[in-house]
C-alpha cells in the first residue's frame, strides 16, 4: 500500500492494525465496473461455481463511495479513461486496483501499430496492485489475484507456502 496516503497514528497499536488489515483483506468490496469481456468472467467468479464470497469479495457495490477495490476488467479507451480516473478518485482510502485481463495490463490484442483509440494498460494512470493476465483470465485466476491482494494487504496467509512447509 505504498501509494496510499494514510496518516500514521501518534500511538501505534500493532495488534489492532494487524487485525484491521486482516479484516480489510477478508472483505474486499469491489466496484461493479465491468467494461468488456473480462467482466463476464468477473461475474462468473461471483456466481455459484467459483464463488468469490468464500473470500469475502462478493459484495459488488454500484457506488464508488462504498467500495474499496477497483477491478479494471476490460479494454480502457481514451474516451473512457477520464471516467475511470474519476471513479478511482471517488473511492475512499484505503483502496486497491486489480488489472484484470491483458487489455488492462498492456492494451492486450488491441494494441497494434496505428491504433488510435485505447490506452495501453491501466498502469498508465492508476496505481495497479495486482496484474492478472489472460484473455480472458479464468475465474480461478481472478480468485488467485484476490488472494495475492490479500497477501499484499495483511501478513496473514490463508495457507502455508508449499516451498517453505
Amino acid at each position: 500500500m505504498g501509494t496510499q496516503n494514510i496518516p500514521s497514528s501518534v500511538v501505534q497499536f500493532a495488534l489492532a492494525d494487524k487485525l484491521i488489515n486482516i479484516g480489510r483483506a477478508n472483505s474486499f468490496w469491489p466496484l461493479t465496473f465491468g467494461i468488456a469481456c473480462c467482466a463476464i468472467e468477473m461475474m462468473a467468479t461471483g456466481c455459484a461455481r467459483f464463488d468469490m464470497s468464500r473470500f469475502g469479495a462478493e459484495v459488488f457495490r454500484p457506488s464508488a463511495r462504498q467500495s474499496d477495490v477497483l477491478i479494471v476488467a476490460g479494454t480502457i479507451t481514451k474516451k473512457m479513461m477520464p471516467g475511470i480516473k474519476t471513479l478511482y478518485d471517488q473511492m475512499p482510502e484505503p483502496k486497491w486496483v486489480i488489472a484484470l485481463g491483458n487489455c488492462a495490463i498492456s492494451g492486450g490484442p488491441f494494441a497494434f501499430d496505428g491504433q488510435y483509440s485505447i490506452v495501453l494498460g491501466a498502469h498508465e494512470f492508476l496505481p495497479v496492485d495486482v496484474y492478472i493476465p489472460g484473455c480472458p483470465p479464468r475465474p480461478e485466476a481472478l480468485l488467485q489475484g484476490i488472494i495475492e491482494l490479500e497477501h499484499l494487504v495483511s501478513d496473514w496467509k490463508r495457507w502455508k507456502n508449499p516451498e517453505a512447509a
Partner: protein, 176 residues
C-alpha cells in the same frame, strides 16, 4: 416477385439504357496498378444484378448523390429495412464511396445495395434520416471514420470517437 419490381423501379432512375459494360471490375484499380497495367476506370452509375450465392445480395445500384434520395424512397415504399450504411475509401480513384445495404423482413428475399461515389476532397452526400430514422447513427459513424458530411443531418457529431476528435481513422492515408 419484389426483386423484379424493385429492379424495374430502380432501373427507371437511369434513363439511357446502357449496354452491359464489358470490363467492369469494381475496385480493380488496386490490383491492376500492382501488376503494372493501366488502372481500370472506376465503376459508372448503373444497376447490376448479382449472383446471390457468391456475393450475398441481389441488386447493386450505383447512383449519383442527387438521385440518392429518390432511390432510397423507392425502397422505403417497397418496405425494405435499412441494414447498414458504410463507406469505402478508394484512394487511388480519389473518391469516397458510401454503401447502403437494404433487406426485407418477409420471405420474398431481396437484398439491395445502393452506392454513391463522391470526390475525396469535398465529400458531401444528402442525408436519408428523413426517410429512415435508423440512418442517423450509421451516418454519424461513417462521418467519424471517413469524414463524409451528410447534408441535412440533425446531429452530426462524433459517435464512436471522442467528442473532440478531428481525425478520420479509416481513411487510407491516416497516420495515428
Amino acid at each position: 416477385m419484389i426483386c423484379e419490381k424493385t429492379k424495374l423501379a430502380l432501373q427507371s432512375l437511369f434513363p439511357e439504357p446502357k449496354p452491359e459494360p464489358v470490363n467492369i471490375v469494381e475496385g480493380a484499380s488496386e490490383v491492376s496498378e500492382k501488376k503494372g497495367k493501366a488502372p481500370a476506370p472506376p465503376r459508372q452509375d448503373g444497376l447490376l444484378e448479382r449472383d446471390y450465392a457468391i456475393h450475398g445480395y441481389h441488386l447493386d445500384a450505383q447512383v449519383s448523390p442527387d438521385q440518392l434520395l429518390k432511390a432510397v424512397s423507392i425502397l422505403d415504399a417497397a418496405q425494405f429495412f435499412i441494414e447498414s450504411i458504410t463507406g469505402v475509401d478508394w484512394i487511388n480513384d480519389n473518391q469516397l464511396e458510401v454503401v447502403y445495404d437494404f433487406s426485407r423482413y418477409d420471405f420474398d428475399v431481396c437484398r439491395v445495395v445502393i452506392r454513391t461515389r463522391i470526390d475525396r476532397s469535398n465529400p458531401v452526400v444528402p442525408t436519408i434520416t428523413n426517410i429512415y430514422d435508423g440512418a442517423n447513427w450509421h451516418e454519424r459513424e461513417t462521418h467519424d471514420f471517413f469524414g463524409i458530411k451528410f447534408d441535412g443531418h440533425p446531429h452530426l457529431i462524433p459517435l464512436l470517437l471522442p467528442e473532440d476528435a478531428d481525425f478520420h481513422p479509416l481513411l487510407k492515408d491516416f497516420k495515428a
